[in-house]
């Protein structure tokens, strides 16, 4: 995703992060790699957009962070979904489905004819 991510795509990034965290807490790098893998390397999040998104979502209360110790005793910050975040994930997921369905309808129309 490019730096000048328009609102629509920023919202999508949020949705993806929320979904990624649904399976369990992850640190920042973990989130980036998980997304890469899930999409089969089709989607590559730029690190520059990831952290601002994470901090923003923390401020909004959708995710929360926790400092812990890594295997080699280094301080590591990991993120997890909050209750509010879980609810939002469901909403945004539904919104996305509606949106894509609508777009698909429009596009198919052209093809059909």
């Amino acid at each position: 995703m490019s730096r000048d991510t328009p609102e629509l795509l920023k919202g999508t990034l949020d949705l993806l992060i929320l979904k990624t965290l649904q399976s369990g807490p992850l640190h920042g790098y973990g989130i980036a790699r998980a997304l890469e893998e899930k999409t089969g390397r089709a989607l590559q999040i730029e690190e520059g957009s990831l952290y601002p998104a994470l901090y923003r979502m923390t401020n909004k209360g959708w995710i929360d962070f926790e400092w812990g110790l890594s295997a080699n005793n280094r301080k590591k910050k990991s993120y997890r979904l909050t209750t509010k975040g879980k609810k939002l994930l469901r909403e945004k997921h539904a919104q996305w489905s509606e949106f894509t369905a609508a777009v698909a309808l429009v596009l198919e129309e052209g093809t059909a004819s």
Partner: protein, 893 residues
Amino acid sequence: MSLITDGWMRLRSVLSKRERDRQIEEELTDHFDALVRDLVERGLSPIDARAEATTRFGDARVIRKELRSMEAQRINREQRSSYFEELSQDIRYGVRQLFKKPAFTAIVIGTLAIGIGANTAVFSVLKGVFLDPLPFDEPHELTYIWHGGTDGGCCGPLSGPDYLDIKEGTETFEDIAVMVTRNTNLNSDGEPVMVLGARITPNLFSVLRVSPAMGRPFTEDDQIVGNRAVILSDGIWRNRLGGDPAVIGSTIRLNRETYSVVGVMPAGFNAPSPWRLNRTHDIYLPFAKEEIDQAARNSHWLLAIGRLKRDVPVETGDAELKSISESLAEQYPNTNRVKTTYVHSMHERLVGRVGTQLILLLSAAGFMLLIVCGNVASLLLSRATARQTEMAIRAAVGAGRSRIVRQLLTESLLLSTVGGGAGIALAVAGMTYLRSVIPTDIPRITNIGIDGMVLGFALLISIVTGILFGLAPALSASRSNLTESLKESRAAPQAGSRRAVLRGALVASQFALALVLANGAALMVQSYLRFRGMEQGFDPENVLTVNVSLQGESYDDVWDRDYFLRESIDRIAAIPGVRHVGATSKLPLNGGTNGHVWAEDDPDRDPNLEGPLIEFSRVSGHYFAAAGIRLVAGRLPTGDDSLAARPGTIINQEMANRLWPDEDPIGKRYSFRTDPPHWMTVVGVVEDVRQWGPYTRARAEHYLPYTAPGWAQGHRMYLIVKTDIEPLSIVGQVRQAVLAVDPDQPISEIRTMEGVLSEEFAGQRFNTMLVGMFAGIALLLVSAGVYGVVSFFVAQTSREIGIRMALGAAQSKVLGLTILRGLRLAAIGTAVGVGGIFATMKVIRSLLYGASPVDIPTMIAGVVALICVGLFASLVPARRAARVSPVTALRSE
């Protein structure tokens, strides 16, 4: 484990910005390194990997900035919400705690209410009387202009020609107006009634910047003799004339003459006279031009009010008028040679002298409040000991010390604000009573009330009080050692003894404050009694005084007035129970009128020099007998004395001493400074009677027979009636007697001489009463404080006492030791208090009317009294200590 790491990291990021940035840095670096590692794993060279990672991260600086600001936002929001959460927690907890101990809470709130209420009430008086600006536009520009002597004497009214010259010559004043106050008889339907009138120059309203609410102000035409115009006050228009909207153009009868109403002033307006502080002028009449133009230059009778030009200070106006006086002195050496002018700000003259007194009263109330704080702090400290376990547990569960202190302070503030609210209620309730007992020589009484500023003041002192008495106990209570307090069921000795020392210090300081207060009160009482018991020079017992106002054309001739007086006196003398009747133009102690005189055979008499200033009044009938003024030499005036070419007069001792020291004054002649001089002969000398209130020495004075020529025409006279029975019981008959002589003549200012005398002391009485009350409450509080501390001590050491007694200590010894504790506090406190008395000595001088504030016998009495208080307050707990059964004490552990 991770909980601790997380908490630790969060705490550090809250506390230090650098740490916050470091943590962001760490997170990003972590990601970077992990990325590089992965890329290397996928086959890139380390260098290429780093380059790739850097590209992927983009503009690191921008990102960092963004992250930092978002992190800062997050922390702020977190802190704010937790702050409010904690505050509401504290308040709820505090309220619950207070309800748990209702007696304690009630006592504390009660004493706080008294302390804060008293301060609020006194402050409301201070504000209404002194702090509030005068009810005029730009009141700081308004001044009074007085005539004084170059020898420094001040302050008298101006003369007409002097006023006109000053008014013309001034450049610092925007305008100057003059006025005099006259009692006037209003003859409306029904009984004639006396109203307060003011004769004014038409520009008085413009100087004060007020316009009539109805009709018009006075013009120059109104000043022509014969054009009888009058302007009414709002009060009299509503009360006496029914608020008739068609009043303009209607007529009223004043002094039996018809006047036409041309205007009505707005509600609340009153021409400000410094001699009638709480009375409203009912009507305004214009001076005739000649009254001022053609008056004598050395007849001083006009109250001058001037408005300075914008931004001109009073001192500049004063200096200019003084120089104008100097040029007048050169122009008219006969009359003005030793005259000068004084300019005083109106605010200063009207309320200035009361300001100091009120501030001192407020300080006394403040002392009392401090003592209240001491008591409450002491009570809280004792509670701290009881709540030790609670505090220790809270600390163990993780509440920081600051959190505990905050919570305890919240409790204290809760107490003090509730106490403050109760205090405000007390003050409001007491406001009506206060306004009725406040002495009438305090100006602007109607302006006293509880308004926003007063409420703000109450709130402020509630908060300050809460912090004052709450801080020390809060700090002390939070300093608890968990293990120790859980181990011992009684007080942990360290914290306990530290607290005991603190409480002891509190009580000692309360003693000091109470001593200063009690000493002040004792001195004030002494001073009051001394002044009250002074020989006044007249006998006020069973004397009735009424005022009659002989104005208008029918009384222009002195013989007409004289006839009225003689007739009235004769009729009143016929009333059963009346012993003597007389008349005078001024009452003792009620101010005076004065002028300069010459003695005839004064060989050094320089015609250009003014003689000494003499008070004068006119008398008729058996005035001296009625007033009980003793004759010390010569004889009383007879009828012939007023007819003689050189009328015979009575002078007082002071005048005799000043004009003819060491000589017999009988037969000596003197005159006022008229041209040609009008000689009068002394026929008798009477005792001195004070003219200017009970605190000023008697001045030289002479009494003129009524019809004798001279100054002070005597249009306004007081009838003095000495009775064998209660004076007020004959008021109706006196009124009838006067009406029989003149049916349009009301009597007014009906008082007894005792009442007049008492009124003079009303101010001192009021101050003394208040301070005495504060001192009394303070002593009560102090004794409660000592009692509390010593009881506490007994309770804490009952075990030790038990041991002592088991080992054979006599009861009396235990008693003695306990009492000694209380006495020691009293001793330290009074020692500090004595220092305090010396320190505040200059300050309270003005409340004592001349008595010295450092009066050793009184101080010693105060010290002894306080030590006795300490003694008796310790007695009860001491006896309890002595009755401790050693067996019980040792057993109950």
